[in-house]
C-alpha cells in the first residue's frame, strides 16, 4: 500500500476520532440541557435562562470535544455555577412582588452564589494543581451556568455574580501565584 493511501486512511481515521469525541461531547452536555430546561421552567422570564443555557451548552460541548484541561474543567465549572443559579432561582421563586423588590433580594443572592462558586473553582483548581486553561474554563462555565439564574433580574444580577465570583477566586489566585514564587 502506497504512502498516499496510508495518508488518506489516516485522515479518515482522524475524522472518525473527532466525530467520536464530538458524539461524546454532545452526550456530556445533556445535564446542562436538563438544568437549562428546569431553570427556564422555574424562572419568571424564561428567555434569559434559555439564551445563557444555550451558550453554556455550546461552550461545554466545545470544552468536552477539545479535551485536556477544558474537558477536566467542565464538571467543576458546571457544579460551581449551580450555586448562584440555585440561589437566584430560589430567591426569584420566593417573591411574587414587584420587580424592584425581587432584584433587591436576588442580586445579593447572586453575589453570594458568585462568591461560593469562585471559592469552589479556586479550591478545585488548587487541589488539582491545574493549569491556566483549567482556571479559565471552569470559571467561564461557572459564570455562564450561574448567569442562567441571575440574568432574569437583568444585568445587575449577572454583574453582581461576576463581582462575587471575582472576590471568591482572588484568594485562590494569589495562593497559586504565591505558591509558584516560593517554589
Amino acid at each position: 500500500m502506497g504512502s498516499t493511501d496510508i495518508y488518506s486512511i489516516q485522515r479518515r481515521v482522524r475524522r472518525t476520532y473527532e466525530l467520536a469525541r464530538l458524539r461524546r461531547a454532545l452526550m456530556g452536555i445533556l445535564p446542562v440541557i436538563l438544568v437549562t430546561g428546569v431553570a427556564a421552567f422555574v424562572a419568571t422570564r424564561p428567555t434569559a435562562p434559555l439564551v445563557f443555557g444555550l451558550v453554556t451548552a455550546f461552550a461545554g460541548a466545545m470544552m468536552l470535544w477539545h479535551g485536556k484541561d477544558p474537558q477536566k474543567a467542565f464538571l467543576p465549572g458546571v457544579i460551581a455555577g449551580l450555586v448562584p443559579l440555585g440561589l437566584a432561582l430560589g430567591a426569584g421563586a420566593l417573591h411574587t412582588c414587584g420587580a424592584g423588590s425581587c432584584s433587591y433580594v436576588c442580586v445579593p443572592a447572586c453575589v453570594l452564589g458568585g462568591v461560593v462558586a469562585g471559592f469552589a473553582v479556586a479550591g478545585v483548581s488548587l487541589q488539582r494543581r491545574a493549569g491556566v486553561w483549567f482556571w479559565v474554563s471552569a470559571s467561564g462555565l461557572a459564570l455562564l451556568t450561574g448567569a442562567m439564574g441571575c440574568a432574569c433580574m437583568g444585568s445587575a444580577g449577572v454583574i453582581g455574580m461576576g463581582l462575587g465570583f471575582g472576590a471568591g477566586i482572588v484568594p485562590g489566585l494569589l495562593r497559586r501565584v504565591f505558591g509558584k514564587e516560593t517554589r
Partner: protein, 177 residues
C-alpha cells in the same frame, strides 16, 4: 513489538484519550503495522486483511477517548482488530452461503443449460404473444396434442402457417434475420 514501543504507545494512547491530538500520528504509525500483520495472519487474504485492518483502525481510534490507561494499549488494540477480522470472515462466509442458496442451479453441472432453456422459453413466450389468436390456438393444440376446431389437411396447413409466422416473429424479435 518491544517493551519500549509498548510503553510509548501506552503513554501516547493516554494522551490521545485526554484529547491531545499531537499524539495521533505516532499512535497511528505504531498500531498500523501490527494490526495489518495480525489481519493477514488471521484472514489469509490480502484484500480482506486490508479491509479488516482499516475497520479495526477506525474502531480503535473511535474508542480512543474511552481508553483505560491502567491497561496496556497494544493487547487492547489487537483484541479489537481480531474481533474485526472475525466479523469480516463471518460476514463473507454468510454472503457466500446466501449466494449459493439463492442460485442453487449454478452449483449443478447443467447450470448453463438450465439458464439457456429458461431464456429460450421466455423468448418463445414473447414470440407467441405476437401471433394472432387463431395461430396461437393451433400451436397450443399441436403442443398438447389436442383437437382443434378444425382437423385434417386444414389443420396441417394452419399449423405450418402458424409455425412459419412464429419462426419469423421469433427471428425479428431477437435479431436472428
Amino acid at each position: 513489538m518491544n517493551v519500549r514501543l509498548d510503553s510509548e504507545l501506552d503513554a501516547l494512547m493516554a494522551r490521545l484519550a485526554d484529547g491531545d491530538r499531537g499524539a495521533f500520528t505516532r499512535v497511528f504509525e505504531l498500531l498500523w503495522e501490527p494490526i495489518q500483520t495480525l489481519c493477514r495472519n488471521l484472514l489469509k487474504n490480502e484484500a480482506d486483511a486490508a479491509d479488516a485492518g482499516q475497520d479495526a483502525m477506525h474502531k480503535i481510534l473511535e474508542r480512543a477517548s474511552d481508553f483505560d490507561r491502567t491497561r496496556p494499549a497494544m493487547p487492547w488494540a489487537l483484541a479489537i482488530a481480531g474481533w474485526e477480522c472475525r466479523t469480516l470472515a463471518r460476514r463473507r462466509e454468510r454472503r457466500r452461503e446466501e449466494d449459493e442458496a439463492s442460485m442453487p442451479s449454478q452449483a449443478g453441472p447443467h447450470a448453463e443449460e438450465v439458464f439457456l432453456q429458461r431464456d429460450l422459453t421466455a423468448a418463445a413466450m414473447a414470440a407467441l404473444g405476437e401471433l394472432s389468436d387463431v395461430d396461437r390456438e393451433v400451436l397450443v393444440a399441436t403442443f398438447w396434442d389436442e383437437a382443434a376446431s378444425v382437423s385434417g389437411p386444414t389443420l396441417r396447413k394452419r399449423r405450418e402457417r402458424a409455425l412459419d409466422r412464429l419462426r419469423k416473429t421469433f427471428r425479428s424479435l431477437y435479431g436472428l434475420d
